[in-house]
């Protein structure tokens, strides 16, 4: 495909290629350069296995490190206990200063200072992570190998394993460590909503802790996160209509959107400020886009007048100024864009009239640079990415049927539905490396929606 060639020559973004290979530590991608990513080694210790496992997996799934696995227990012990003349290995003394983040400990502990930095350097590690317990406190010490010192020590009191908040707390710890190492926010503390058997579920981004979040037996579709990460919306069939619901994630309390219940309302989407919900409404005239103020439950506003065409699947730009959507005005559904007030409607993702297949399910990336969607290619669906600035599209997947992409908050991972393994399930692809992993190994999951970064649940609700 020409678009693939274009993108390859364009730059280092979105250059990975899709293959059917399943992740087992294997990376795929024509432009992948193994030496580019910093090496990360996790020091084995007794205890805190679940914490260490979750953190290691989050760092691995960030696709920002080469995870270095040490061969066996004995050599590890050797590596961690062998005394080293720290300081003499590196002349850059200034880099030995521990990080100064909020979670920083009181400096390198005596035991930590004995890390055999030259050995880890020889193994290709740029960072070593040591997670230990000090009473109730979990201490995660990130060593900077080249600087031969502690980059940061994060002290945190985790809920006990098995506590409903335990895994998210560990995910947040992993994100702090990634931030300390690379200065970039991670996606450990995120979840994905999806639909299975007509019900809405959530699952941690590492594929664990699946939980039912919808509360009725009526058919549900199209879950969508609010930007605060504490609310979501979805559509539910009821008495032949499509009802939109707004639900509090923590309490499970749900409220119908005030104007719903009179028509088929579907594909809800929140504005970034959380004030506005855009959605589609099917009437005798076709399907059109509306917005409503979700906070004050007022001010229903019609954005498109389709004249018997369909306009649906809205997605806000992260600055809230624009809405990308699907319109059938060219005959088949294609991706359009307009100002958030409905003016200036125009084609967004280019297509060849009479050649290009239907394009659907757009989602604007959190960094604003891309819109992912799926397009009918020779009778099957493939995920595409539109570059917002250049308005060029690139085909991302090519194996099996791939649909309904949703962005991770880092704007480099996408979750999507694929039947590449023989049945439809949820997958995650890293656009930078091309690495693909299953999110959920269960048939029938669809319509995924990746959360924003999840902070702790609000302590009180007004």
């Amino acid at each position: 495909m020409c678009c693939l060639c274009d993108s390859t020559s364009r730059g280092n973004r979105l250059t990975a290629q899709d293959t059917s290979a399943i992740d087992r530590g294997v990376r795929i991608g024509i432009d992948y350069r193994p030496g580019v990513r910093p090496g990360m080694v996790m020091l084995p210790r007794k205890g805190l296995d679940s914490v260490r496992t979750i953190v290691a997996r989050d760092l691995d799934y960030s696709d920002r490190f080469e995870i270095i696995t040490l061969p066996g227990g004995d050599s590890i012990r050797l590596a961690t206990t062998a005394p080293s003349s720290s300081g003499s290995t590196t002349p850059r003394g200034s880099r030995r200063t521990p990080g100064t983040g909020g979670g920083s400990g009181g400096g390198a502990q005596a035991a930590m200072a004995s890390l055999n930095y030259p050995l880890y350097q020889a193994l290709g590690a740029d960072f070593a992570l040591d997670i230990t317990a000090a009473g109730d406190t979990t201490v995660a010490t990130l060593h900077d190998i080249a600087a031969a010192g502690v980059r940061r020590a994060v002290r945190t009191v985790l809920p006990p394993a098995g506590d409903p908040d335990f895994r998210q707390a560990v995910h947040r710890l992993a994100d702090q460590l990634l931030q300390a190492a690379l200065g970039t926010a991670g996606i450990g503390a995120t979840r994905v909503l999806f639909v299975k058997d007509g019900k809405v579920y959530q699952i941690d981004q590492d594929g664990v802790d699946q939980k039912l979040v919808s509360s009725t037996n009526r058919q549900a579709m199209s879950p969508a996160w609010a930007a605060d990460g504490h609310h979501f919306a979805y559509m539910e069939f009821q008495a032949g209509k499509g009802w939109l619901y707004y639900q509090d994630m923590a309490t499970g309390k749900r409220t119908p959107v005030s104007t719903t219940g009179t028509a088929l309302d579907f594909t809800p989407a929140f504005s970034p400020d959380g004030q506005t919900m855009a959605f589609s409404r099917a009437t005798e005239e076709g399907t059109d886009l509306y917005t409503i103020n979700i906070k004050s439950n007022c001010c229903l506003r019609r954005l498109t007048v389709g004249h018997f065409s369909d306009n649906l699947s809205p997605t806000f730009s992260p600055d809230g100024q624009r809405i990308a959507f699907v319109s059938t005005r060219p005959g088949l559904p294609q991706v359009y864009v307009m100002a958030a007030d409905g003016t200036d409607q125009q084609l967004f993702a280019p297509f060849d009239y009479g050649v290009t297949g239907s394009s659907n399910a757009p989602e604007w990336s959190p960094d604003g640079q891309s819109v992912a969607f799926h397009r009918d290619v020779a009778g099957t669906l493939e995920v595409f990415v539109l570059d917002v600035r250049t308005r060029t599209v690139r085909q991302l997947t090519s194996v099996g049927r791939n649909e309904d992409p949703t962005w991770a908050p880092d704007s480099r991972h996408l979750a999507f539905v694929s039947d590449r393994s023989g049945y439809r399930q949820l997958w995650i692809i890293d656009l930078d490396t091309g690495r693909i992993r299953p999110l959920l190994q269960e048939s029938g999951a669809r319509l995924p929606a990746w959360s924003p970064r999840l902070s702790e649940a609000p302590s009180t609700t007004p």
Binding site: G198, L264, G286, P333, R446
Partner: protein, 205 residues
């Protein structure tokens, strides 16, 4: 016939009286008693009336039975016709892939529904639009809506009041046939028609 039998009965009764007078007994009633003759005549008349009543009763019952049967037969016919009309009304209309226009080979089915709606002014229906699994899940809600609207528009353009037709879309959420081939898909791309009200005794157009 009747007169002959009367003479016979009379003769026999006389002979009986005569024989009873034989032997050592003195004849008590040598001549026919006028009263007994009248009694015999009364009995005769009664028996005739009874026979007549029985015949009348049977005739009446037969007539009633026939009437009941006729009524039952016509009710059955009525319900048979109502059932037939209902089946015709519920016949699905199918669509081409990613299309919502009424195919020419499906217009006959809609014409029949027009006639049924015209013959039954109280009838109200609901059209449900459905899609196959190949399209996009969410887009199929819009497509299903369009398919339901297409059938409604056809009926309205043929004189049916729009207020008698509700529409809804189920997208691809309620497949009629499970399966992942064209045979299943073509059956799943459909409009379904159901009675909302006024469908108890549907008249044949």
């Amino acid at each position: 016939m009747k007169s002959v039998s009367l003479v016979l009965v009379l003769g026999l009764s006389i002979a009986t009286v005569a024989s009873s007078c034989g032997g050592n007994q003195a004849p008590q009633n040598p001549t026919p008693n006028a009263d007994s003759a009248a009694a015999a005549d009364r009995a005769r008349q009664d028996s005739i009336a009874a026979a007549q009543a029985e015949a009348d009763r049977q005739a009446r019952e037969e007539a009633e039975r026939v009437a009941r049967q006729r009524e039952a037969d016509s009710l059955a016919a009525l319900s048979r016709s109502s059932e037939e009309v209902r089946t015709t009304l519920a016949a699905m209309v199918h669509f081409d892939l990613d299309k919502s226009n009424i195919r020419s080979d499906e217009m006959g089915a809609l014409d029949q529904k027009v006639a049924i709606l015209q013959a039954n002014p109280d009838l109200r229906i609901r059209v449900g639009g459905h899609c196959d699994e190949r399209g996009s899940d969410e887009y199929n809600l819009a497509l299903g809506n369009r398919r339901a609207q297409a059938a409604k528009q056809y009926l309205v353009s043929h004189g049916i009041d729009a207020s008698r037709i509700e529409t809804q879309s189920w997208g691809e959420e309620r497949p009629l046939v499970d399966g992942h081939d064209e045979s299943a898909w073509s059956q799943n791309r459909r409009d379904e028609f159901e009675v909302v009200s006024g469908g108890d005794n549907l008249r044949r157009p």
